[in-house]
């Protein structure tokens, strides 16, 4: 039924996937194979967990998406960006298209919450008059309006991660990548962060979250892509360890 509707309404306009990897391999200079023949398509608006043991290739995959590294072979697309073939000077635009947070928040300790978020706009040349409104908007999104003038050291771990999320969202990215965002947080706070990511997903942003948090993955029943030794070993809805 849906297929018919799609065909009837827009015969050729298959929506562009948010993330598309074709036969991607990455071999480091020391000979270690970090990724092998990875095919992965994430449709726009999806929420996908990326799981697997340490060293399975999750971080390498994320670095390839951000074009921190180039694949040895294969094609990578993020939205309309041909990541594996783009010119270096277009990389900043790709990175504004992708919001990213990490386990270690990467906040600047001397700056307040507001300044940390505004920094992302200032260093990308946003006109000053637009900065304040944009910052207010994302601080409200992550629920940190009241803490805007505090510094990271005065915040709880969860608040620090929410600051990082606000900073990642300030460019209104189409894709949001979270690398172990709850790795440093206790379970209750972790759930707060997950709920925030689900909310961001609801607003239309595609979310890719790498995690070890089996409880969260199992509870949410979202699509789970499992990597092991650089290969996709499972790609199904729900379950952390899968059925193997």
């Amino acid at each position: 039924m849906i297929a018919v509707l799609d065909e009837a309404h827009a015969p050729d306009a298959k929506p562009r996937p948010a993330v598309d990897l074709r036969d991607v391999s990455k071999v480091y200079a020391n000979g270690r194979q970090a990724l092998a023949e990875v095919d992965l398509t994430i449709p726009a608006g999806d929420f996908v967990f990326l799981v697997g043991p340490s060293g399975a290739g999750k971080t390498t995959l994320i670095r390839l998406l951000l074009r921190d590294e180039l694949p040895t072979t294969g094609l990578i697309r993020v939205g309309s960006y041909e990541v594996s073939a783009m010119r270096s000077r277009d990389v900043p635009r790709l990175r504004r298209h992708i919001g990213t947070v990490f386990q270690d928040f990467k906040l600047l300790p001397r700056k307040t919450v507001r300044e940390n978020v505004a920094f992302a706009l200032e260093v990308t040349g946003s006109p000053r008059r637009l900065v304040s409104t944009a910052v207010d908007r994302v601080l409200e999104l992550v629920g940190l309006t009241a803490q805007a003038e505090q510094r990271p050291a005065q915040l709880s771990g969860g608040e620090q991660q929410r600051t990082a999320i606000a900073r990642a969202m300030v460019h209104q990215p189409r894709v949001f990548i979270a690398d172990e965002p709850t790795g440093n947080l206790d379970p209750l706070i972790s759930w707060e962060i997950i709920r925030l990511l689900l909310h961001i997903n609801d607003l239309g942003t595609t979310v890719l979250m790498a995690t070890h948090n089996a409880e969260v993955v199992t509870a949410l029943r979202k699509r789970v892509v499992a990597l092991d030794e650089g290969r996709v070993v499972r790609d199904a809805v729900g379950g952390y360890h899968g059925s193997h």
């Binding site: 000077r89 900043p92 635009r93 920094f119 992302a120 260093v123 000053r128 460019h171």
Partner: protein, 300 residues
């Protein structure tokens, strides 16, 4: 564009303040180098002016035998005046020569011993001024040709030659010293900016992560180098303006009009050269450092 420049300048100032000990060290060595450069310029310019002064006064003096007949002297004067190289020939009598010698002694504050000598010991002279100090042409032969008229020919060519060689020697040595100090300054700026890069490595990581273009990462650091150079130039010019009075006085003593005071040509040259060299050296050092420690713009 203005927003970008303001951003880069603000970040550069922040960086300099955060790294202030190193920035200060870099600025001080920059001042040292620029003061050396300015001194060399002033000294060379003074010597050049002195040289020009001496050259403009180059004349040949021919001392005459006592008791030479007046018509023989007049004949020689006519021959000399006819030469194309000669601008003017003037006769200085024995009495006139003595009078001038006494004046010179008085101006120098020395005791006049000529009174002790009974007779006037000074010879009469012919003073030949040349059109071009470097071309003597046949003046020397003409002076020497009539027998028993000219006893001795005195010219200043040897002292001019000596001054020229001192000036060119000083220029070479000065430039070598300045090049060495300049290299030191460059290394210190490179190091200072390297510290800046390291002290803000987490900021730079975040900037790249959120999609800052290379210009936003690099230019604030290059500005830091430029500011170090500009500050160094400013301090140097301040010191020079304080020293301008004494320098001019010193130059006045050796009878050279040195236009070092404000408004003079040398002052304008100094301002341009000192600020230009400072800013360029600072910017170059920062650029080298940024390339070395952040990779080439295409690296990431």
């Amino acid at each position: 564009m203005i927003g970008f420049l303001a951003f880069a300048a603000r970040r550069a100032a922040e960086g300099l303040w955060r790294n202030r000990v190193m920035s200060l060290a870099a600025t001080i060595t920059m001042v040292l180098m620029l003061v050396l450069l300015a001194s060399l310029m002033i000294i060379l310019s003074g010597m050049q002016a002195g040289l020009a002064l001496i050259e403009s006064r180059v004349e040949m003096r021919a001392e005459l035998f006592d008791g030479v007949a007046q018509e023989r002297v007049e004949e020689l004067t006519r021959q000399l005046t006819a030469l194309p190289e000669v601008a003017q020939v003037s006769y200085v009598s024995k009495d006139e020569a003595l009078r001038r010698f006494r004046e010179q002694l008085a101006a120098g504050g020395r005791e006049d011993l000529t009174e002790v000598v009974g007779a006037n010991p000074l010879p009469a002279q012919l003073v030949v001024r040349l059109r071009d100090p470097k071309s003597f042409g046949s003046v020397r032969q003409t002076l020497a040709s009539p027998a028993g008229v000219v006893s001795r020919i005195i010219d200043q060519q040897s002292s001019v030659d000596r001054l020229v060689s001192i000036t060119s020697w000083l220029r070479v040595v000065g430039l070598i010293v300045i090049a060495l100090v300049g290299l030191t300054v460059l290394l210190i700026v490179v190091n200072s900016i390297r510290m800046a890069v390291m002290s803000r490595s987490d900021e730079i990581e975040i900037m790249r992560l959120v999609g800052a273009s290379d210009a936003f990462v690099r230019w604030p650091l290059i500005f830091e180098g430029v500011i170090i150079g500009a500050l160094g130039a400013l301090v140097t010019l301040g010191l020079l303006s304080l020293a301008a009075g004494p320098i001019s006085q010193l130059a006045g003593i050796i009878a050279v009009d040195l236009p070092v005071a404000s408004g003079g040509r040398l002052a304008t040259d100094l301002i341009l050269v000192i600020s230009g060299v400072g800013v360029m050296l600072g910017g170059l050092g920062a650029w080298i450092s940024v390339r070395a420690y952040l990779g080439s713009p295409q690296a990431r």
